[in-house]
């Protein structure tokens, strides 16, 4: 395949498992918005009430820390290093990460489709809806990071435009004071309840299994700032709009479009953010599925187990649990604490392992990604022509009078 050079020394086709930082930024935006602004505000508001924004900010601080750890790991090529070194801890972490990502993907899947099945596609057989939703996720997840990253590059500008459009024309009675007091719950209960929502942490973990190629601008940092900023703005708006009634909102992102002041002129605008919610959910879920496959591959040296486990887990949950809502609710009970623990421990464990290995195997780390160059460099040898019977009359004199140069050629300059 012809690899076209675009500009700044960048190429259209990157090696497998490598994405540009601009693409990583788009994927990160999808991961942040898709799950944190759909049903999560309503679920969190049920416990936190007027403190929902502050709970979100606390969660965002943890999530930014976890994301920073993941990107630090990816930037130092921790995956390549630990795979070269054959780290057992890394294999263990990858095994845990793959199971965790499958669990997270399954819960997210139930969480997304429960809303769609209940509110938007009332006349559709839920099983069919699940399969419709599952097909593109599995397809893109198996195709890999490059397909997901490119799809995100196309969709994210459109999605961002829709979200901004609906925020610009947002018009309803607002009271930003509803975001106060900070501690509607006693601080002990406030912090004790936070880990219950661990389902929404560690979305960036699959980036640990990717190499990131930098373009000029700091797209990843910009994406983190924009995504988390947007999440905080929409949550603050949501609380200012609904107050304690936020708990009845099943999908805040879609509901914000309902307050577009153009609604009276051009009709209900919920469809625009519905498009955003569905496309973002598919992109983010396929990336998590890709992460589960990549982690499983590092743990078991084969892609097949995790590639089949995620769809099977989703189908099994659908078959066993009467409604997807039950599975989603299960994730914010005791399971939430386990998900939080893994979301925080795994990236830092992998990062520490990579840093320790880097110090221990400096030579291996230095040679990561480089082409094979023998060390020490072979010293040039004189041309060996003693036995070739060519110019035999001049052999002795020529060896004496033409010394070898460093570049392997003979110094034929005659001495005066």
């Amino acid at each position: 395949m012809k690899n076209l050079k675009i500009r700044h020394g960048l190429y259209k086709n990157l090696p497998a498992g490598t994405v540009y930082n601009s693409q990583a930024g788009c994927v990160l935006f999808a991961l942040c918005i898709a799950f944190k602004l759909s049903s999560a505000p309503g679920v969190v508001s049920e416990t936190y009430g007027s403190s929902t924004l502050w709970a979100y900010l606390a969660m965002s601080a943890i999530e930014i820390g976890v994301t920073a750890a993941v990107f630090a790991f990816a930037r130092m090529q921790g995956d390549d290093l630990l795979r070269c070194s054959g780290s057992r801890l890394y294999r263990l972490c990858c095994g845990a990460a793959s199971i965790w990502l499958v669990l997270k993907g399954t819960f997210y899947f139930c969480y997304c489709v429960s809303y769609l099945a209940q509110e938007l596609f009332g006349g559709v057989e839920p099983a069919l809806l699940y399969l419709l939703f599952l097909a593109p996720i599995v397809y893109m997840g198996i195709k890999g990071s490059r397909s997901i990253a490119r799809t995100c590059e196309i969709f994210i500008p459109v999605v961002a435009a829709f979200i901004i459009f609906n925020l610009v024309f947002y018009d309803t009675t607002l009271d930003f004071g509803r975001n106060l007091p900070v501690f509607a719950l006693p601080p002990s209960r406030f912090f004790a309840n936070l880990p219950r929502y661990g389902l929404w942490l560690g979305d960036a973990l699959p980036f640990a299994f990717l190499r990131i190629k930098n373009k000029r601008l700091p797209y990843v940092s910009a994406s983190i700032a924009i995504s988390f900023g947007l999440v905080a703005i929409v949550i603050a708006l949501g609380v200012a709009t609904y107050g304690e009634a936020l708990k009845m909102v099943t999908d805040l992102l879609i509901h914000t479009a309902g307050f577009n002041q153009l609604t009276t002129d051009i009709g209900r605008m919920e469809w625009s953010n519905l498009f955003c919610a569905v496309s973002l959910a598919i992109l983010a879920l396929s990336f998590i599925y890709f992460g589960a496959i990549a982690a499983g591959e590092r743990a078991t040296r084969t892609r097949a187990p995790m590639a089949t486990l995620f769809p099977l887990a989703v189908i099994a949950v659908i078959a066993v649990v009467p409604s997807a809502q039950e599975a989603a609710e299960f994730a914010v009970r005791g399971m939430g604490y386990a998900l939080t623990a893994l979301a925080v421990i795994l990236p830092f464990a992998m990062l520490f392992d990579a840093v320790a290995t880097k110090r221990r195997l400096k030579g291996v780390y230095a040679s990561l990604g480089a082409e094979y160059i023998p060390y020490p460099l072979p010293s040039p040898t004189r041309p060996h022509s003693l036995a070739d019977n060519i110019m035999s009359d001049f052999k002795e004199s020529s060896q004496e009078s033409f010394p070898a140069l460093d570049n392997g050629t003979l110094d034929v300059t005659e001495e005066s």
Partner: protein, 385 residues
């Protein structure tokens, strides 16, 4: 020529995805039973009443039916009102669906009439099923009145025939003045679930028109007009009807937008009418002290019995004095509102909610009598843009 490997070709290209998508769409199209628009009743107004004796809901819907034929140049619109009862709102709506022969959708319903008995129920349980299952807009306007929702929806309004259409346009165009408060379903829930637990909605009285409209056949009988100048303030178990005077200032205080005019009548009988251009309401709390600062930009509209043969403008001291006196009058009315809130123990001014934002979770429940409310109103006379 290189032989085409079909399997490899399909795997490598997007054809596989396209084929899969087409297959799914076929399957989807065969099994989906989405309600067609022609099978959906477009409801423009809904009423909910609750019988405390039988514990049954009485739900009324006004649907719009548009019919046209090839011989007629324009479509004929009729408004049909249906009522039924059920143990739940959904049950009653299902019965109405069967009566109409169409699926009821509240996606276009802009007005929700609630009876005073219905307002005593859990507000979340009252609204949530309608927004979730029947697609009622959260921006739908909530109103109540002196008659049952069924009677209110059935009356014929002289100007637009349909009561919901009249309310929709009246509240959208004249919000915030003459006691017109536009409280949406979302606003009602936000207020009633706050620390104040109270909210205010328009209290409508239907009065038979003194002069009935006429057409070519003669007088059109039984037309009503709605009086929207009063307000019902309520919490979960108590309610109070506020008169026109108090409703006017409450509308200015609570409404998102304010249009219309304000009148000042001096002791000597002179009156000045101001048109509201802009308003700003800032409510702040410092501990248990809540203060409300209202700033109104007004324009001189009309002046009677105050100046003899003199052209009066907004710059005249006469007008400025009237504006200052009106500001004082409005401040007094806000104080009266607070006294009414204390007497009725209904915090429709949202004082407790504001104090809660400052004091925090230590603020005791139902502490309206322990809070202070300090209002101030400022009127600035400007020229109209």
């Amino acid at each position: 020529m290189k032989k085409l490997n079909v399997v490899s070709y399909v795997k490598r290209t997007k054809w596989a995805v396209l084929l899969l998508a087409i297959a799914f769409l076929f399957l989807f199209g065969r099994v989906v039973k989405s309600p067609a628009l022609t099978k959906t009743a477009i409801v423009v107004g809904t009423g909910v009443d609750f019988d405390e004796q039988t514990k049954e809901f009485e739900v009324t819907t006004q649907t719009i039916i548009m019919a046209s034929s090839a011989s007629e140049s324009s479509a004929q619109t009729t408004y049909e009102t249906y009522t039924d009862r059920g143990k739940t709102i959904s049950g009653a709506l299902d019965r109405i669906s069967r009566k109409i022969g169409l699926t009821v959708s509240l996606a276009h319903c802009e007005v929700l009439f609630l009876s005073r008995t219905a307002l005593k129920l859990d507000h979340l349980q009252l609204i949530y099923p309608l927004t979730l299952m029947y697609a009622l807009r959260e921006q739908a306007i909530i109103v109540t009145g002196d008659k049952t929702p069924r009677e209110m929806l059935a009356v014929r309004i002289g100007s637009t025939v349909s009561a919901p259409f009249f309310l929709q346009s009246a509240l959208a165009n004249s919000e915030g003045t003459d006691g017109l408060i536009k409280t949406t379903a979302k606003d009602m829930l936000a207020s009633s679930m706050s620390r104040s637990q109270a909210t205010a909605i328009p209290y409508i009285t239907a009065v038979k028109m003194q002069d009935q409209p006429m057409d070519q056949q003669g007088e059109l009988k039984d037309n009503f007009e709605f009086d929207l100048s009063r307000t019902l303030a309520f919490d979960h178990d108590k309610s109070i009807v506020l008169d026109e005077e108090l409703s006017e200032i409450l509308a200015i205080y609570l409404s998102n937008d304010t249009r219309g005019s304000l009148n000042y009548t001096a002791k000597n009988g002179g009156t000045v009418e101001f048109k509201i251009l802009d308003k700003s309401v800032k409510t702040t709390a410092k501990g248990k002290n809540v203060s409300a600062k209202i700033e109104l930009s007004v324009n001189l509209l009309d002046i009677q019995f105050l100046s003899d043969g003199k052209v009066v403008t907004g710059a005249d001291s006469l007008v400025k004095e009237a504006a200052n006196a009106l500001a004082k009058e409005l401040t007094d009315k806000l104080n009266r509102l607070m006294r009414t809130a204390l007497e009725s123990d209904i915090d429709f001014l949202g004082v407790q909610a504001k104090a809660y934002q400052s004091v925090g979770r230590d603020l005791p429940e139902h502490c309206l009598d322990k809070l202070t409310f300090t209002p101030s109103v400022k009127l600035t006379v400007k020229e109209a843009a």
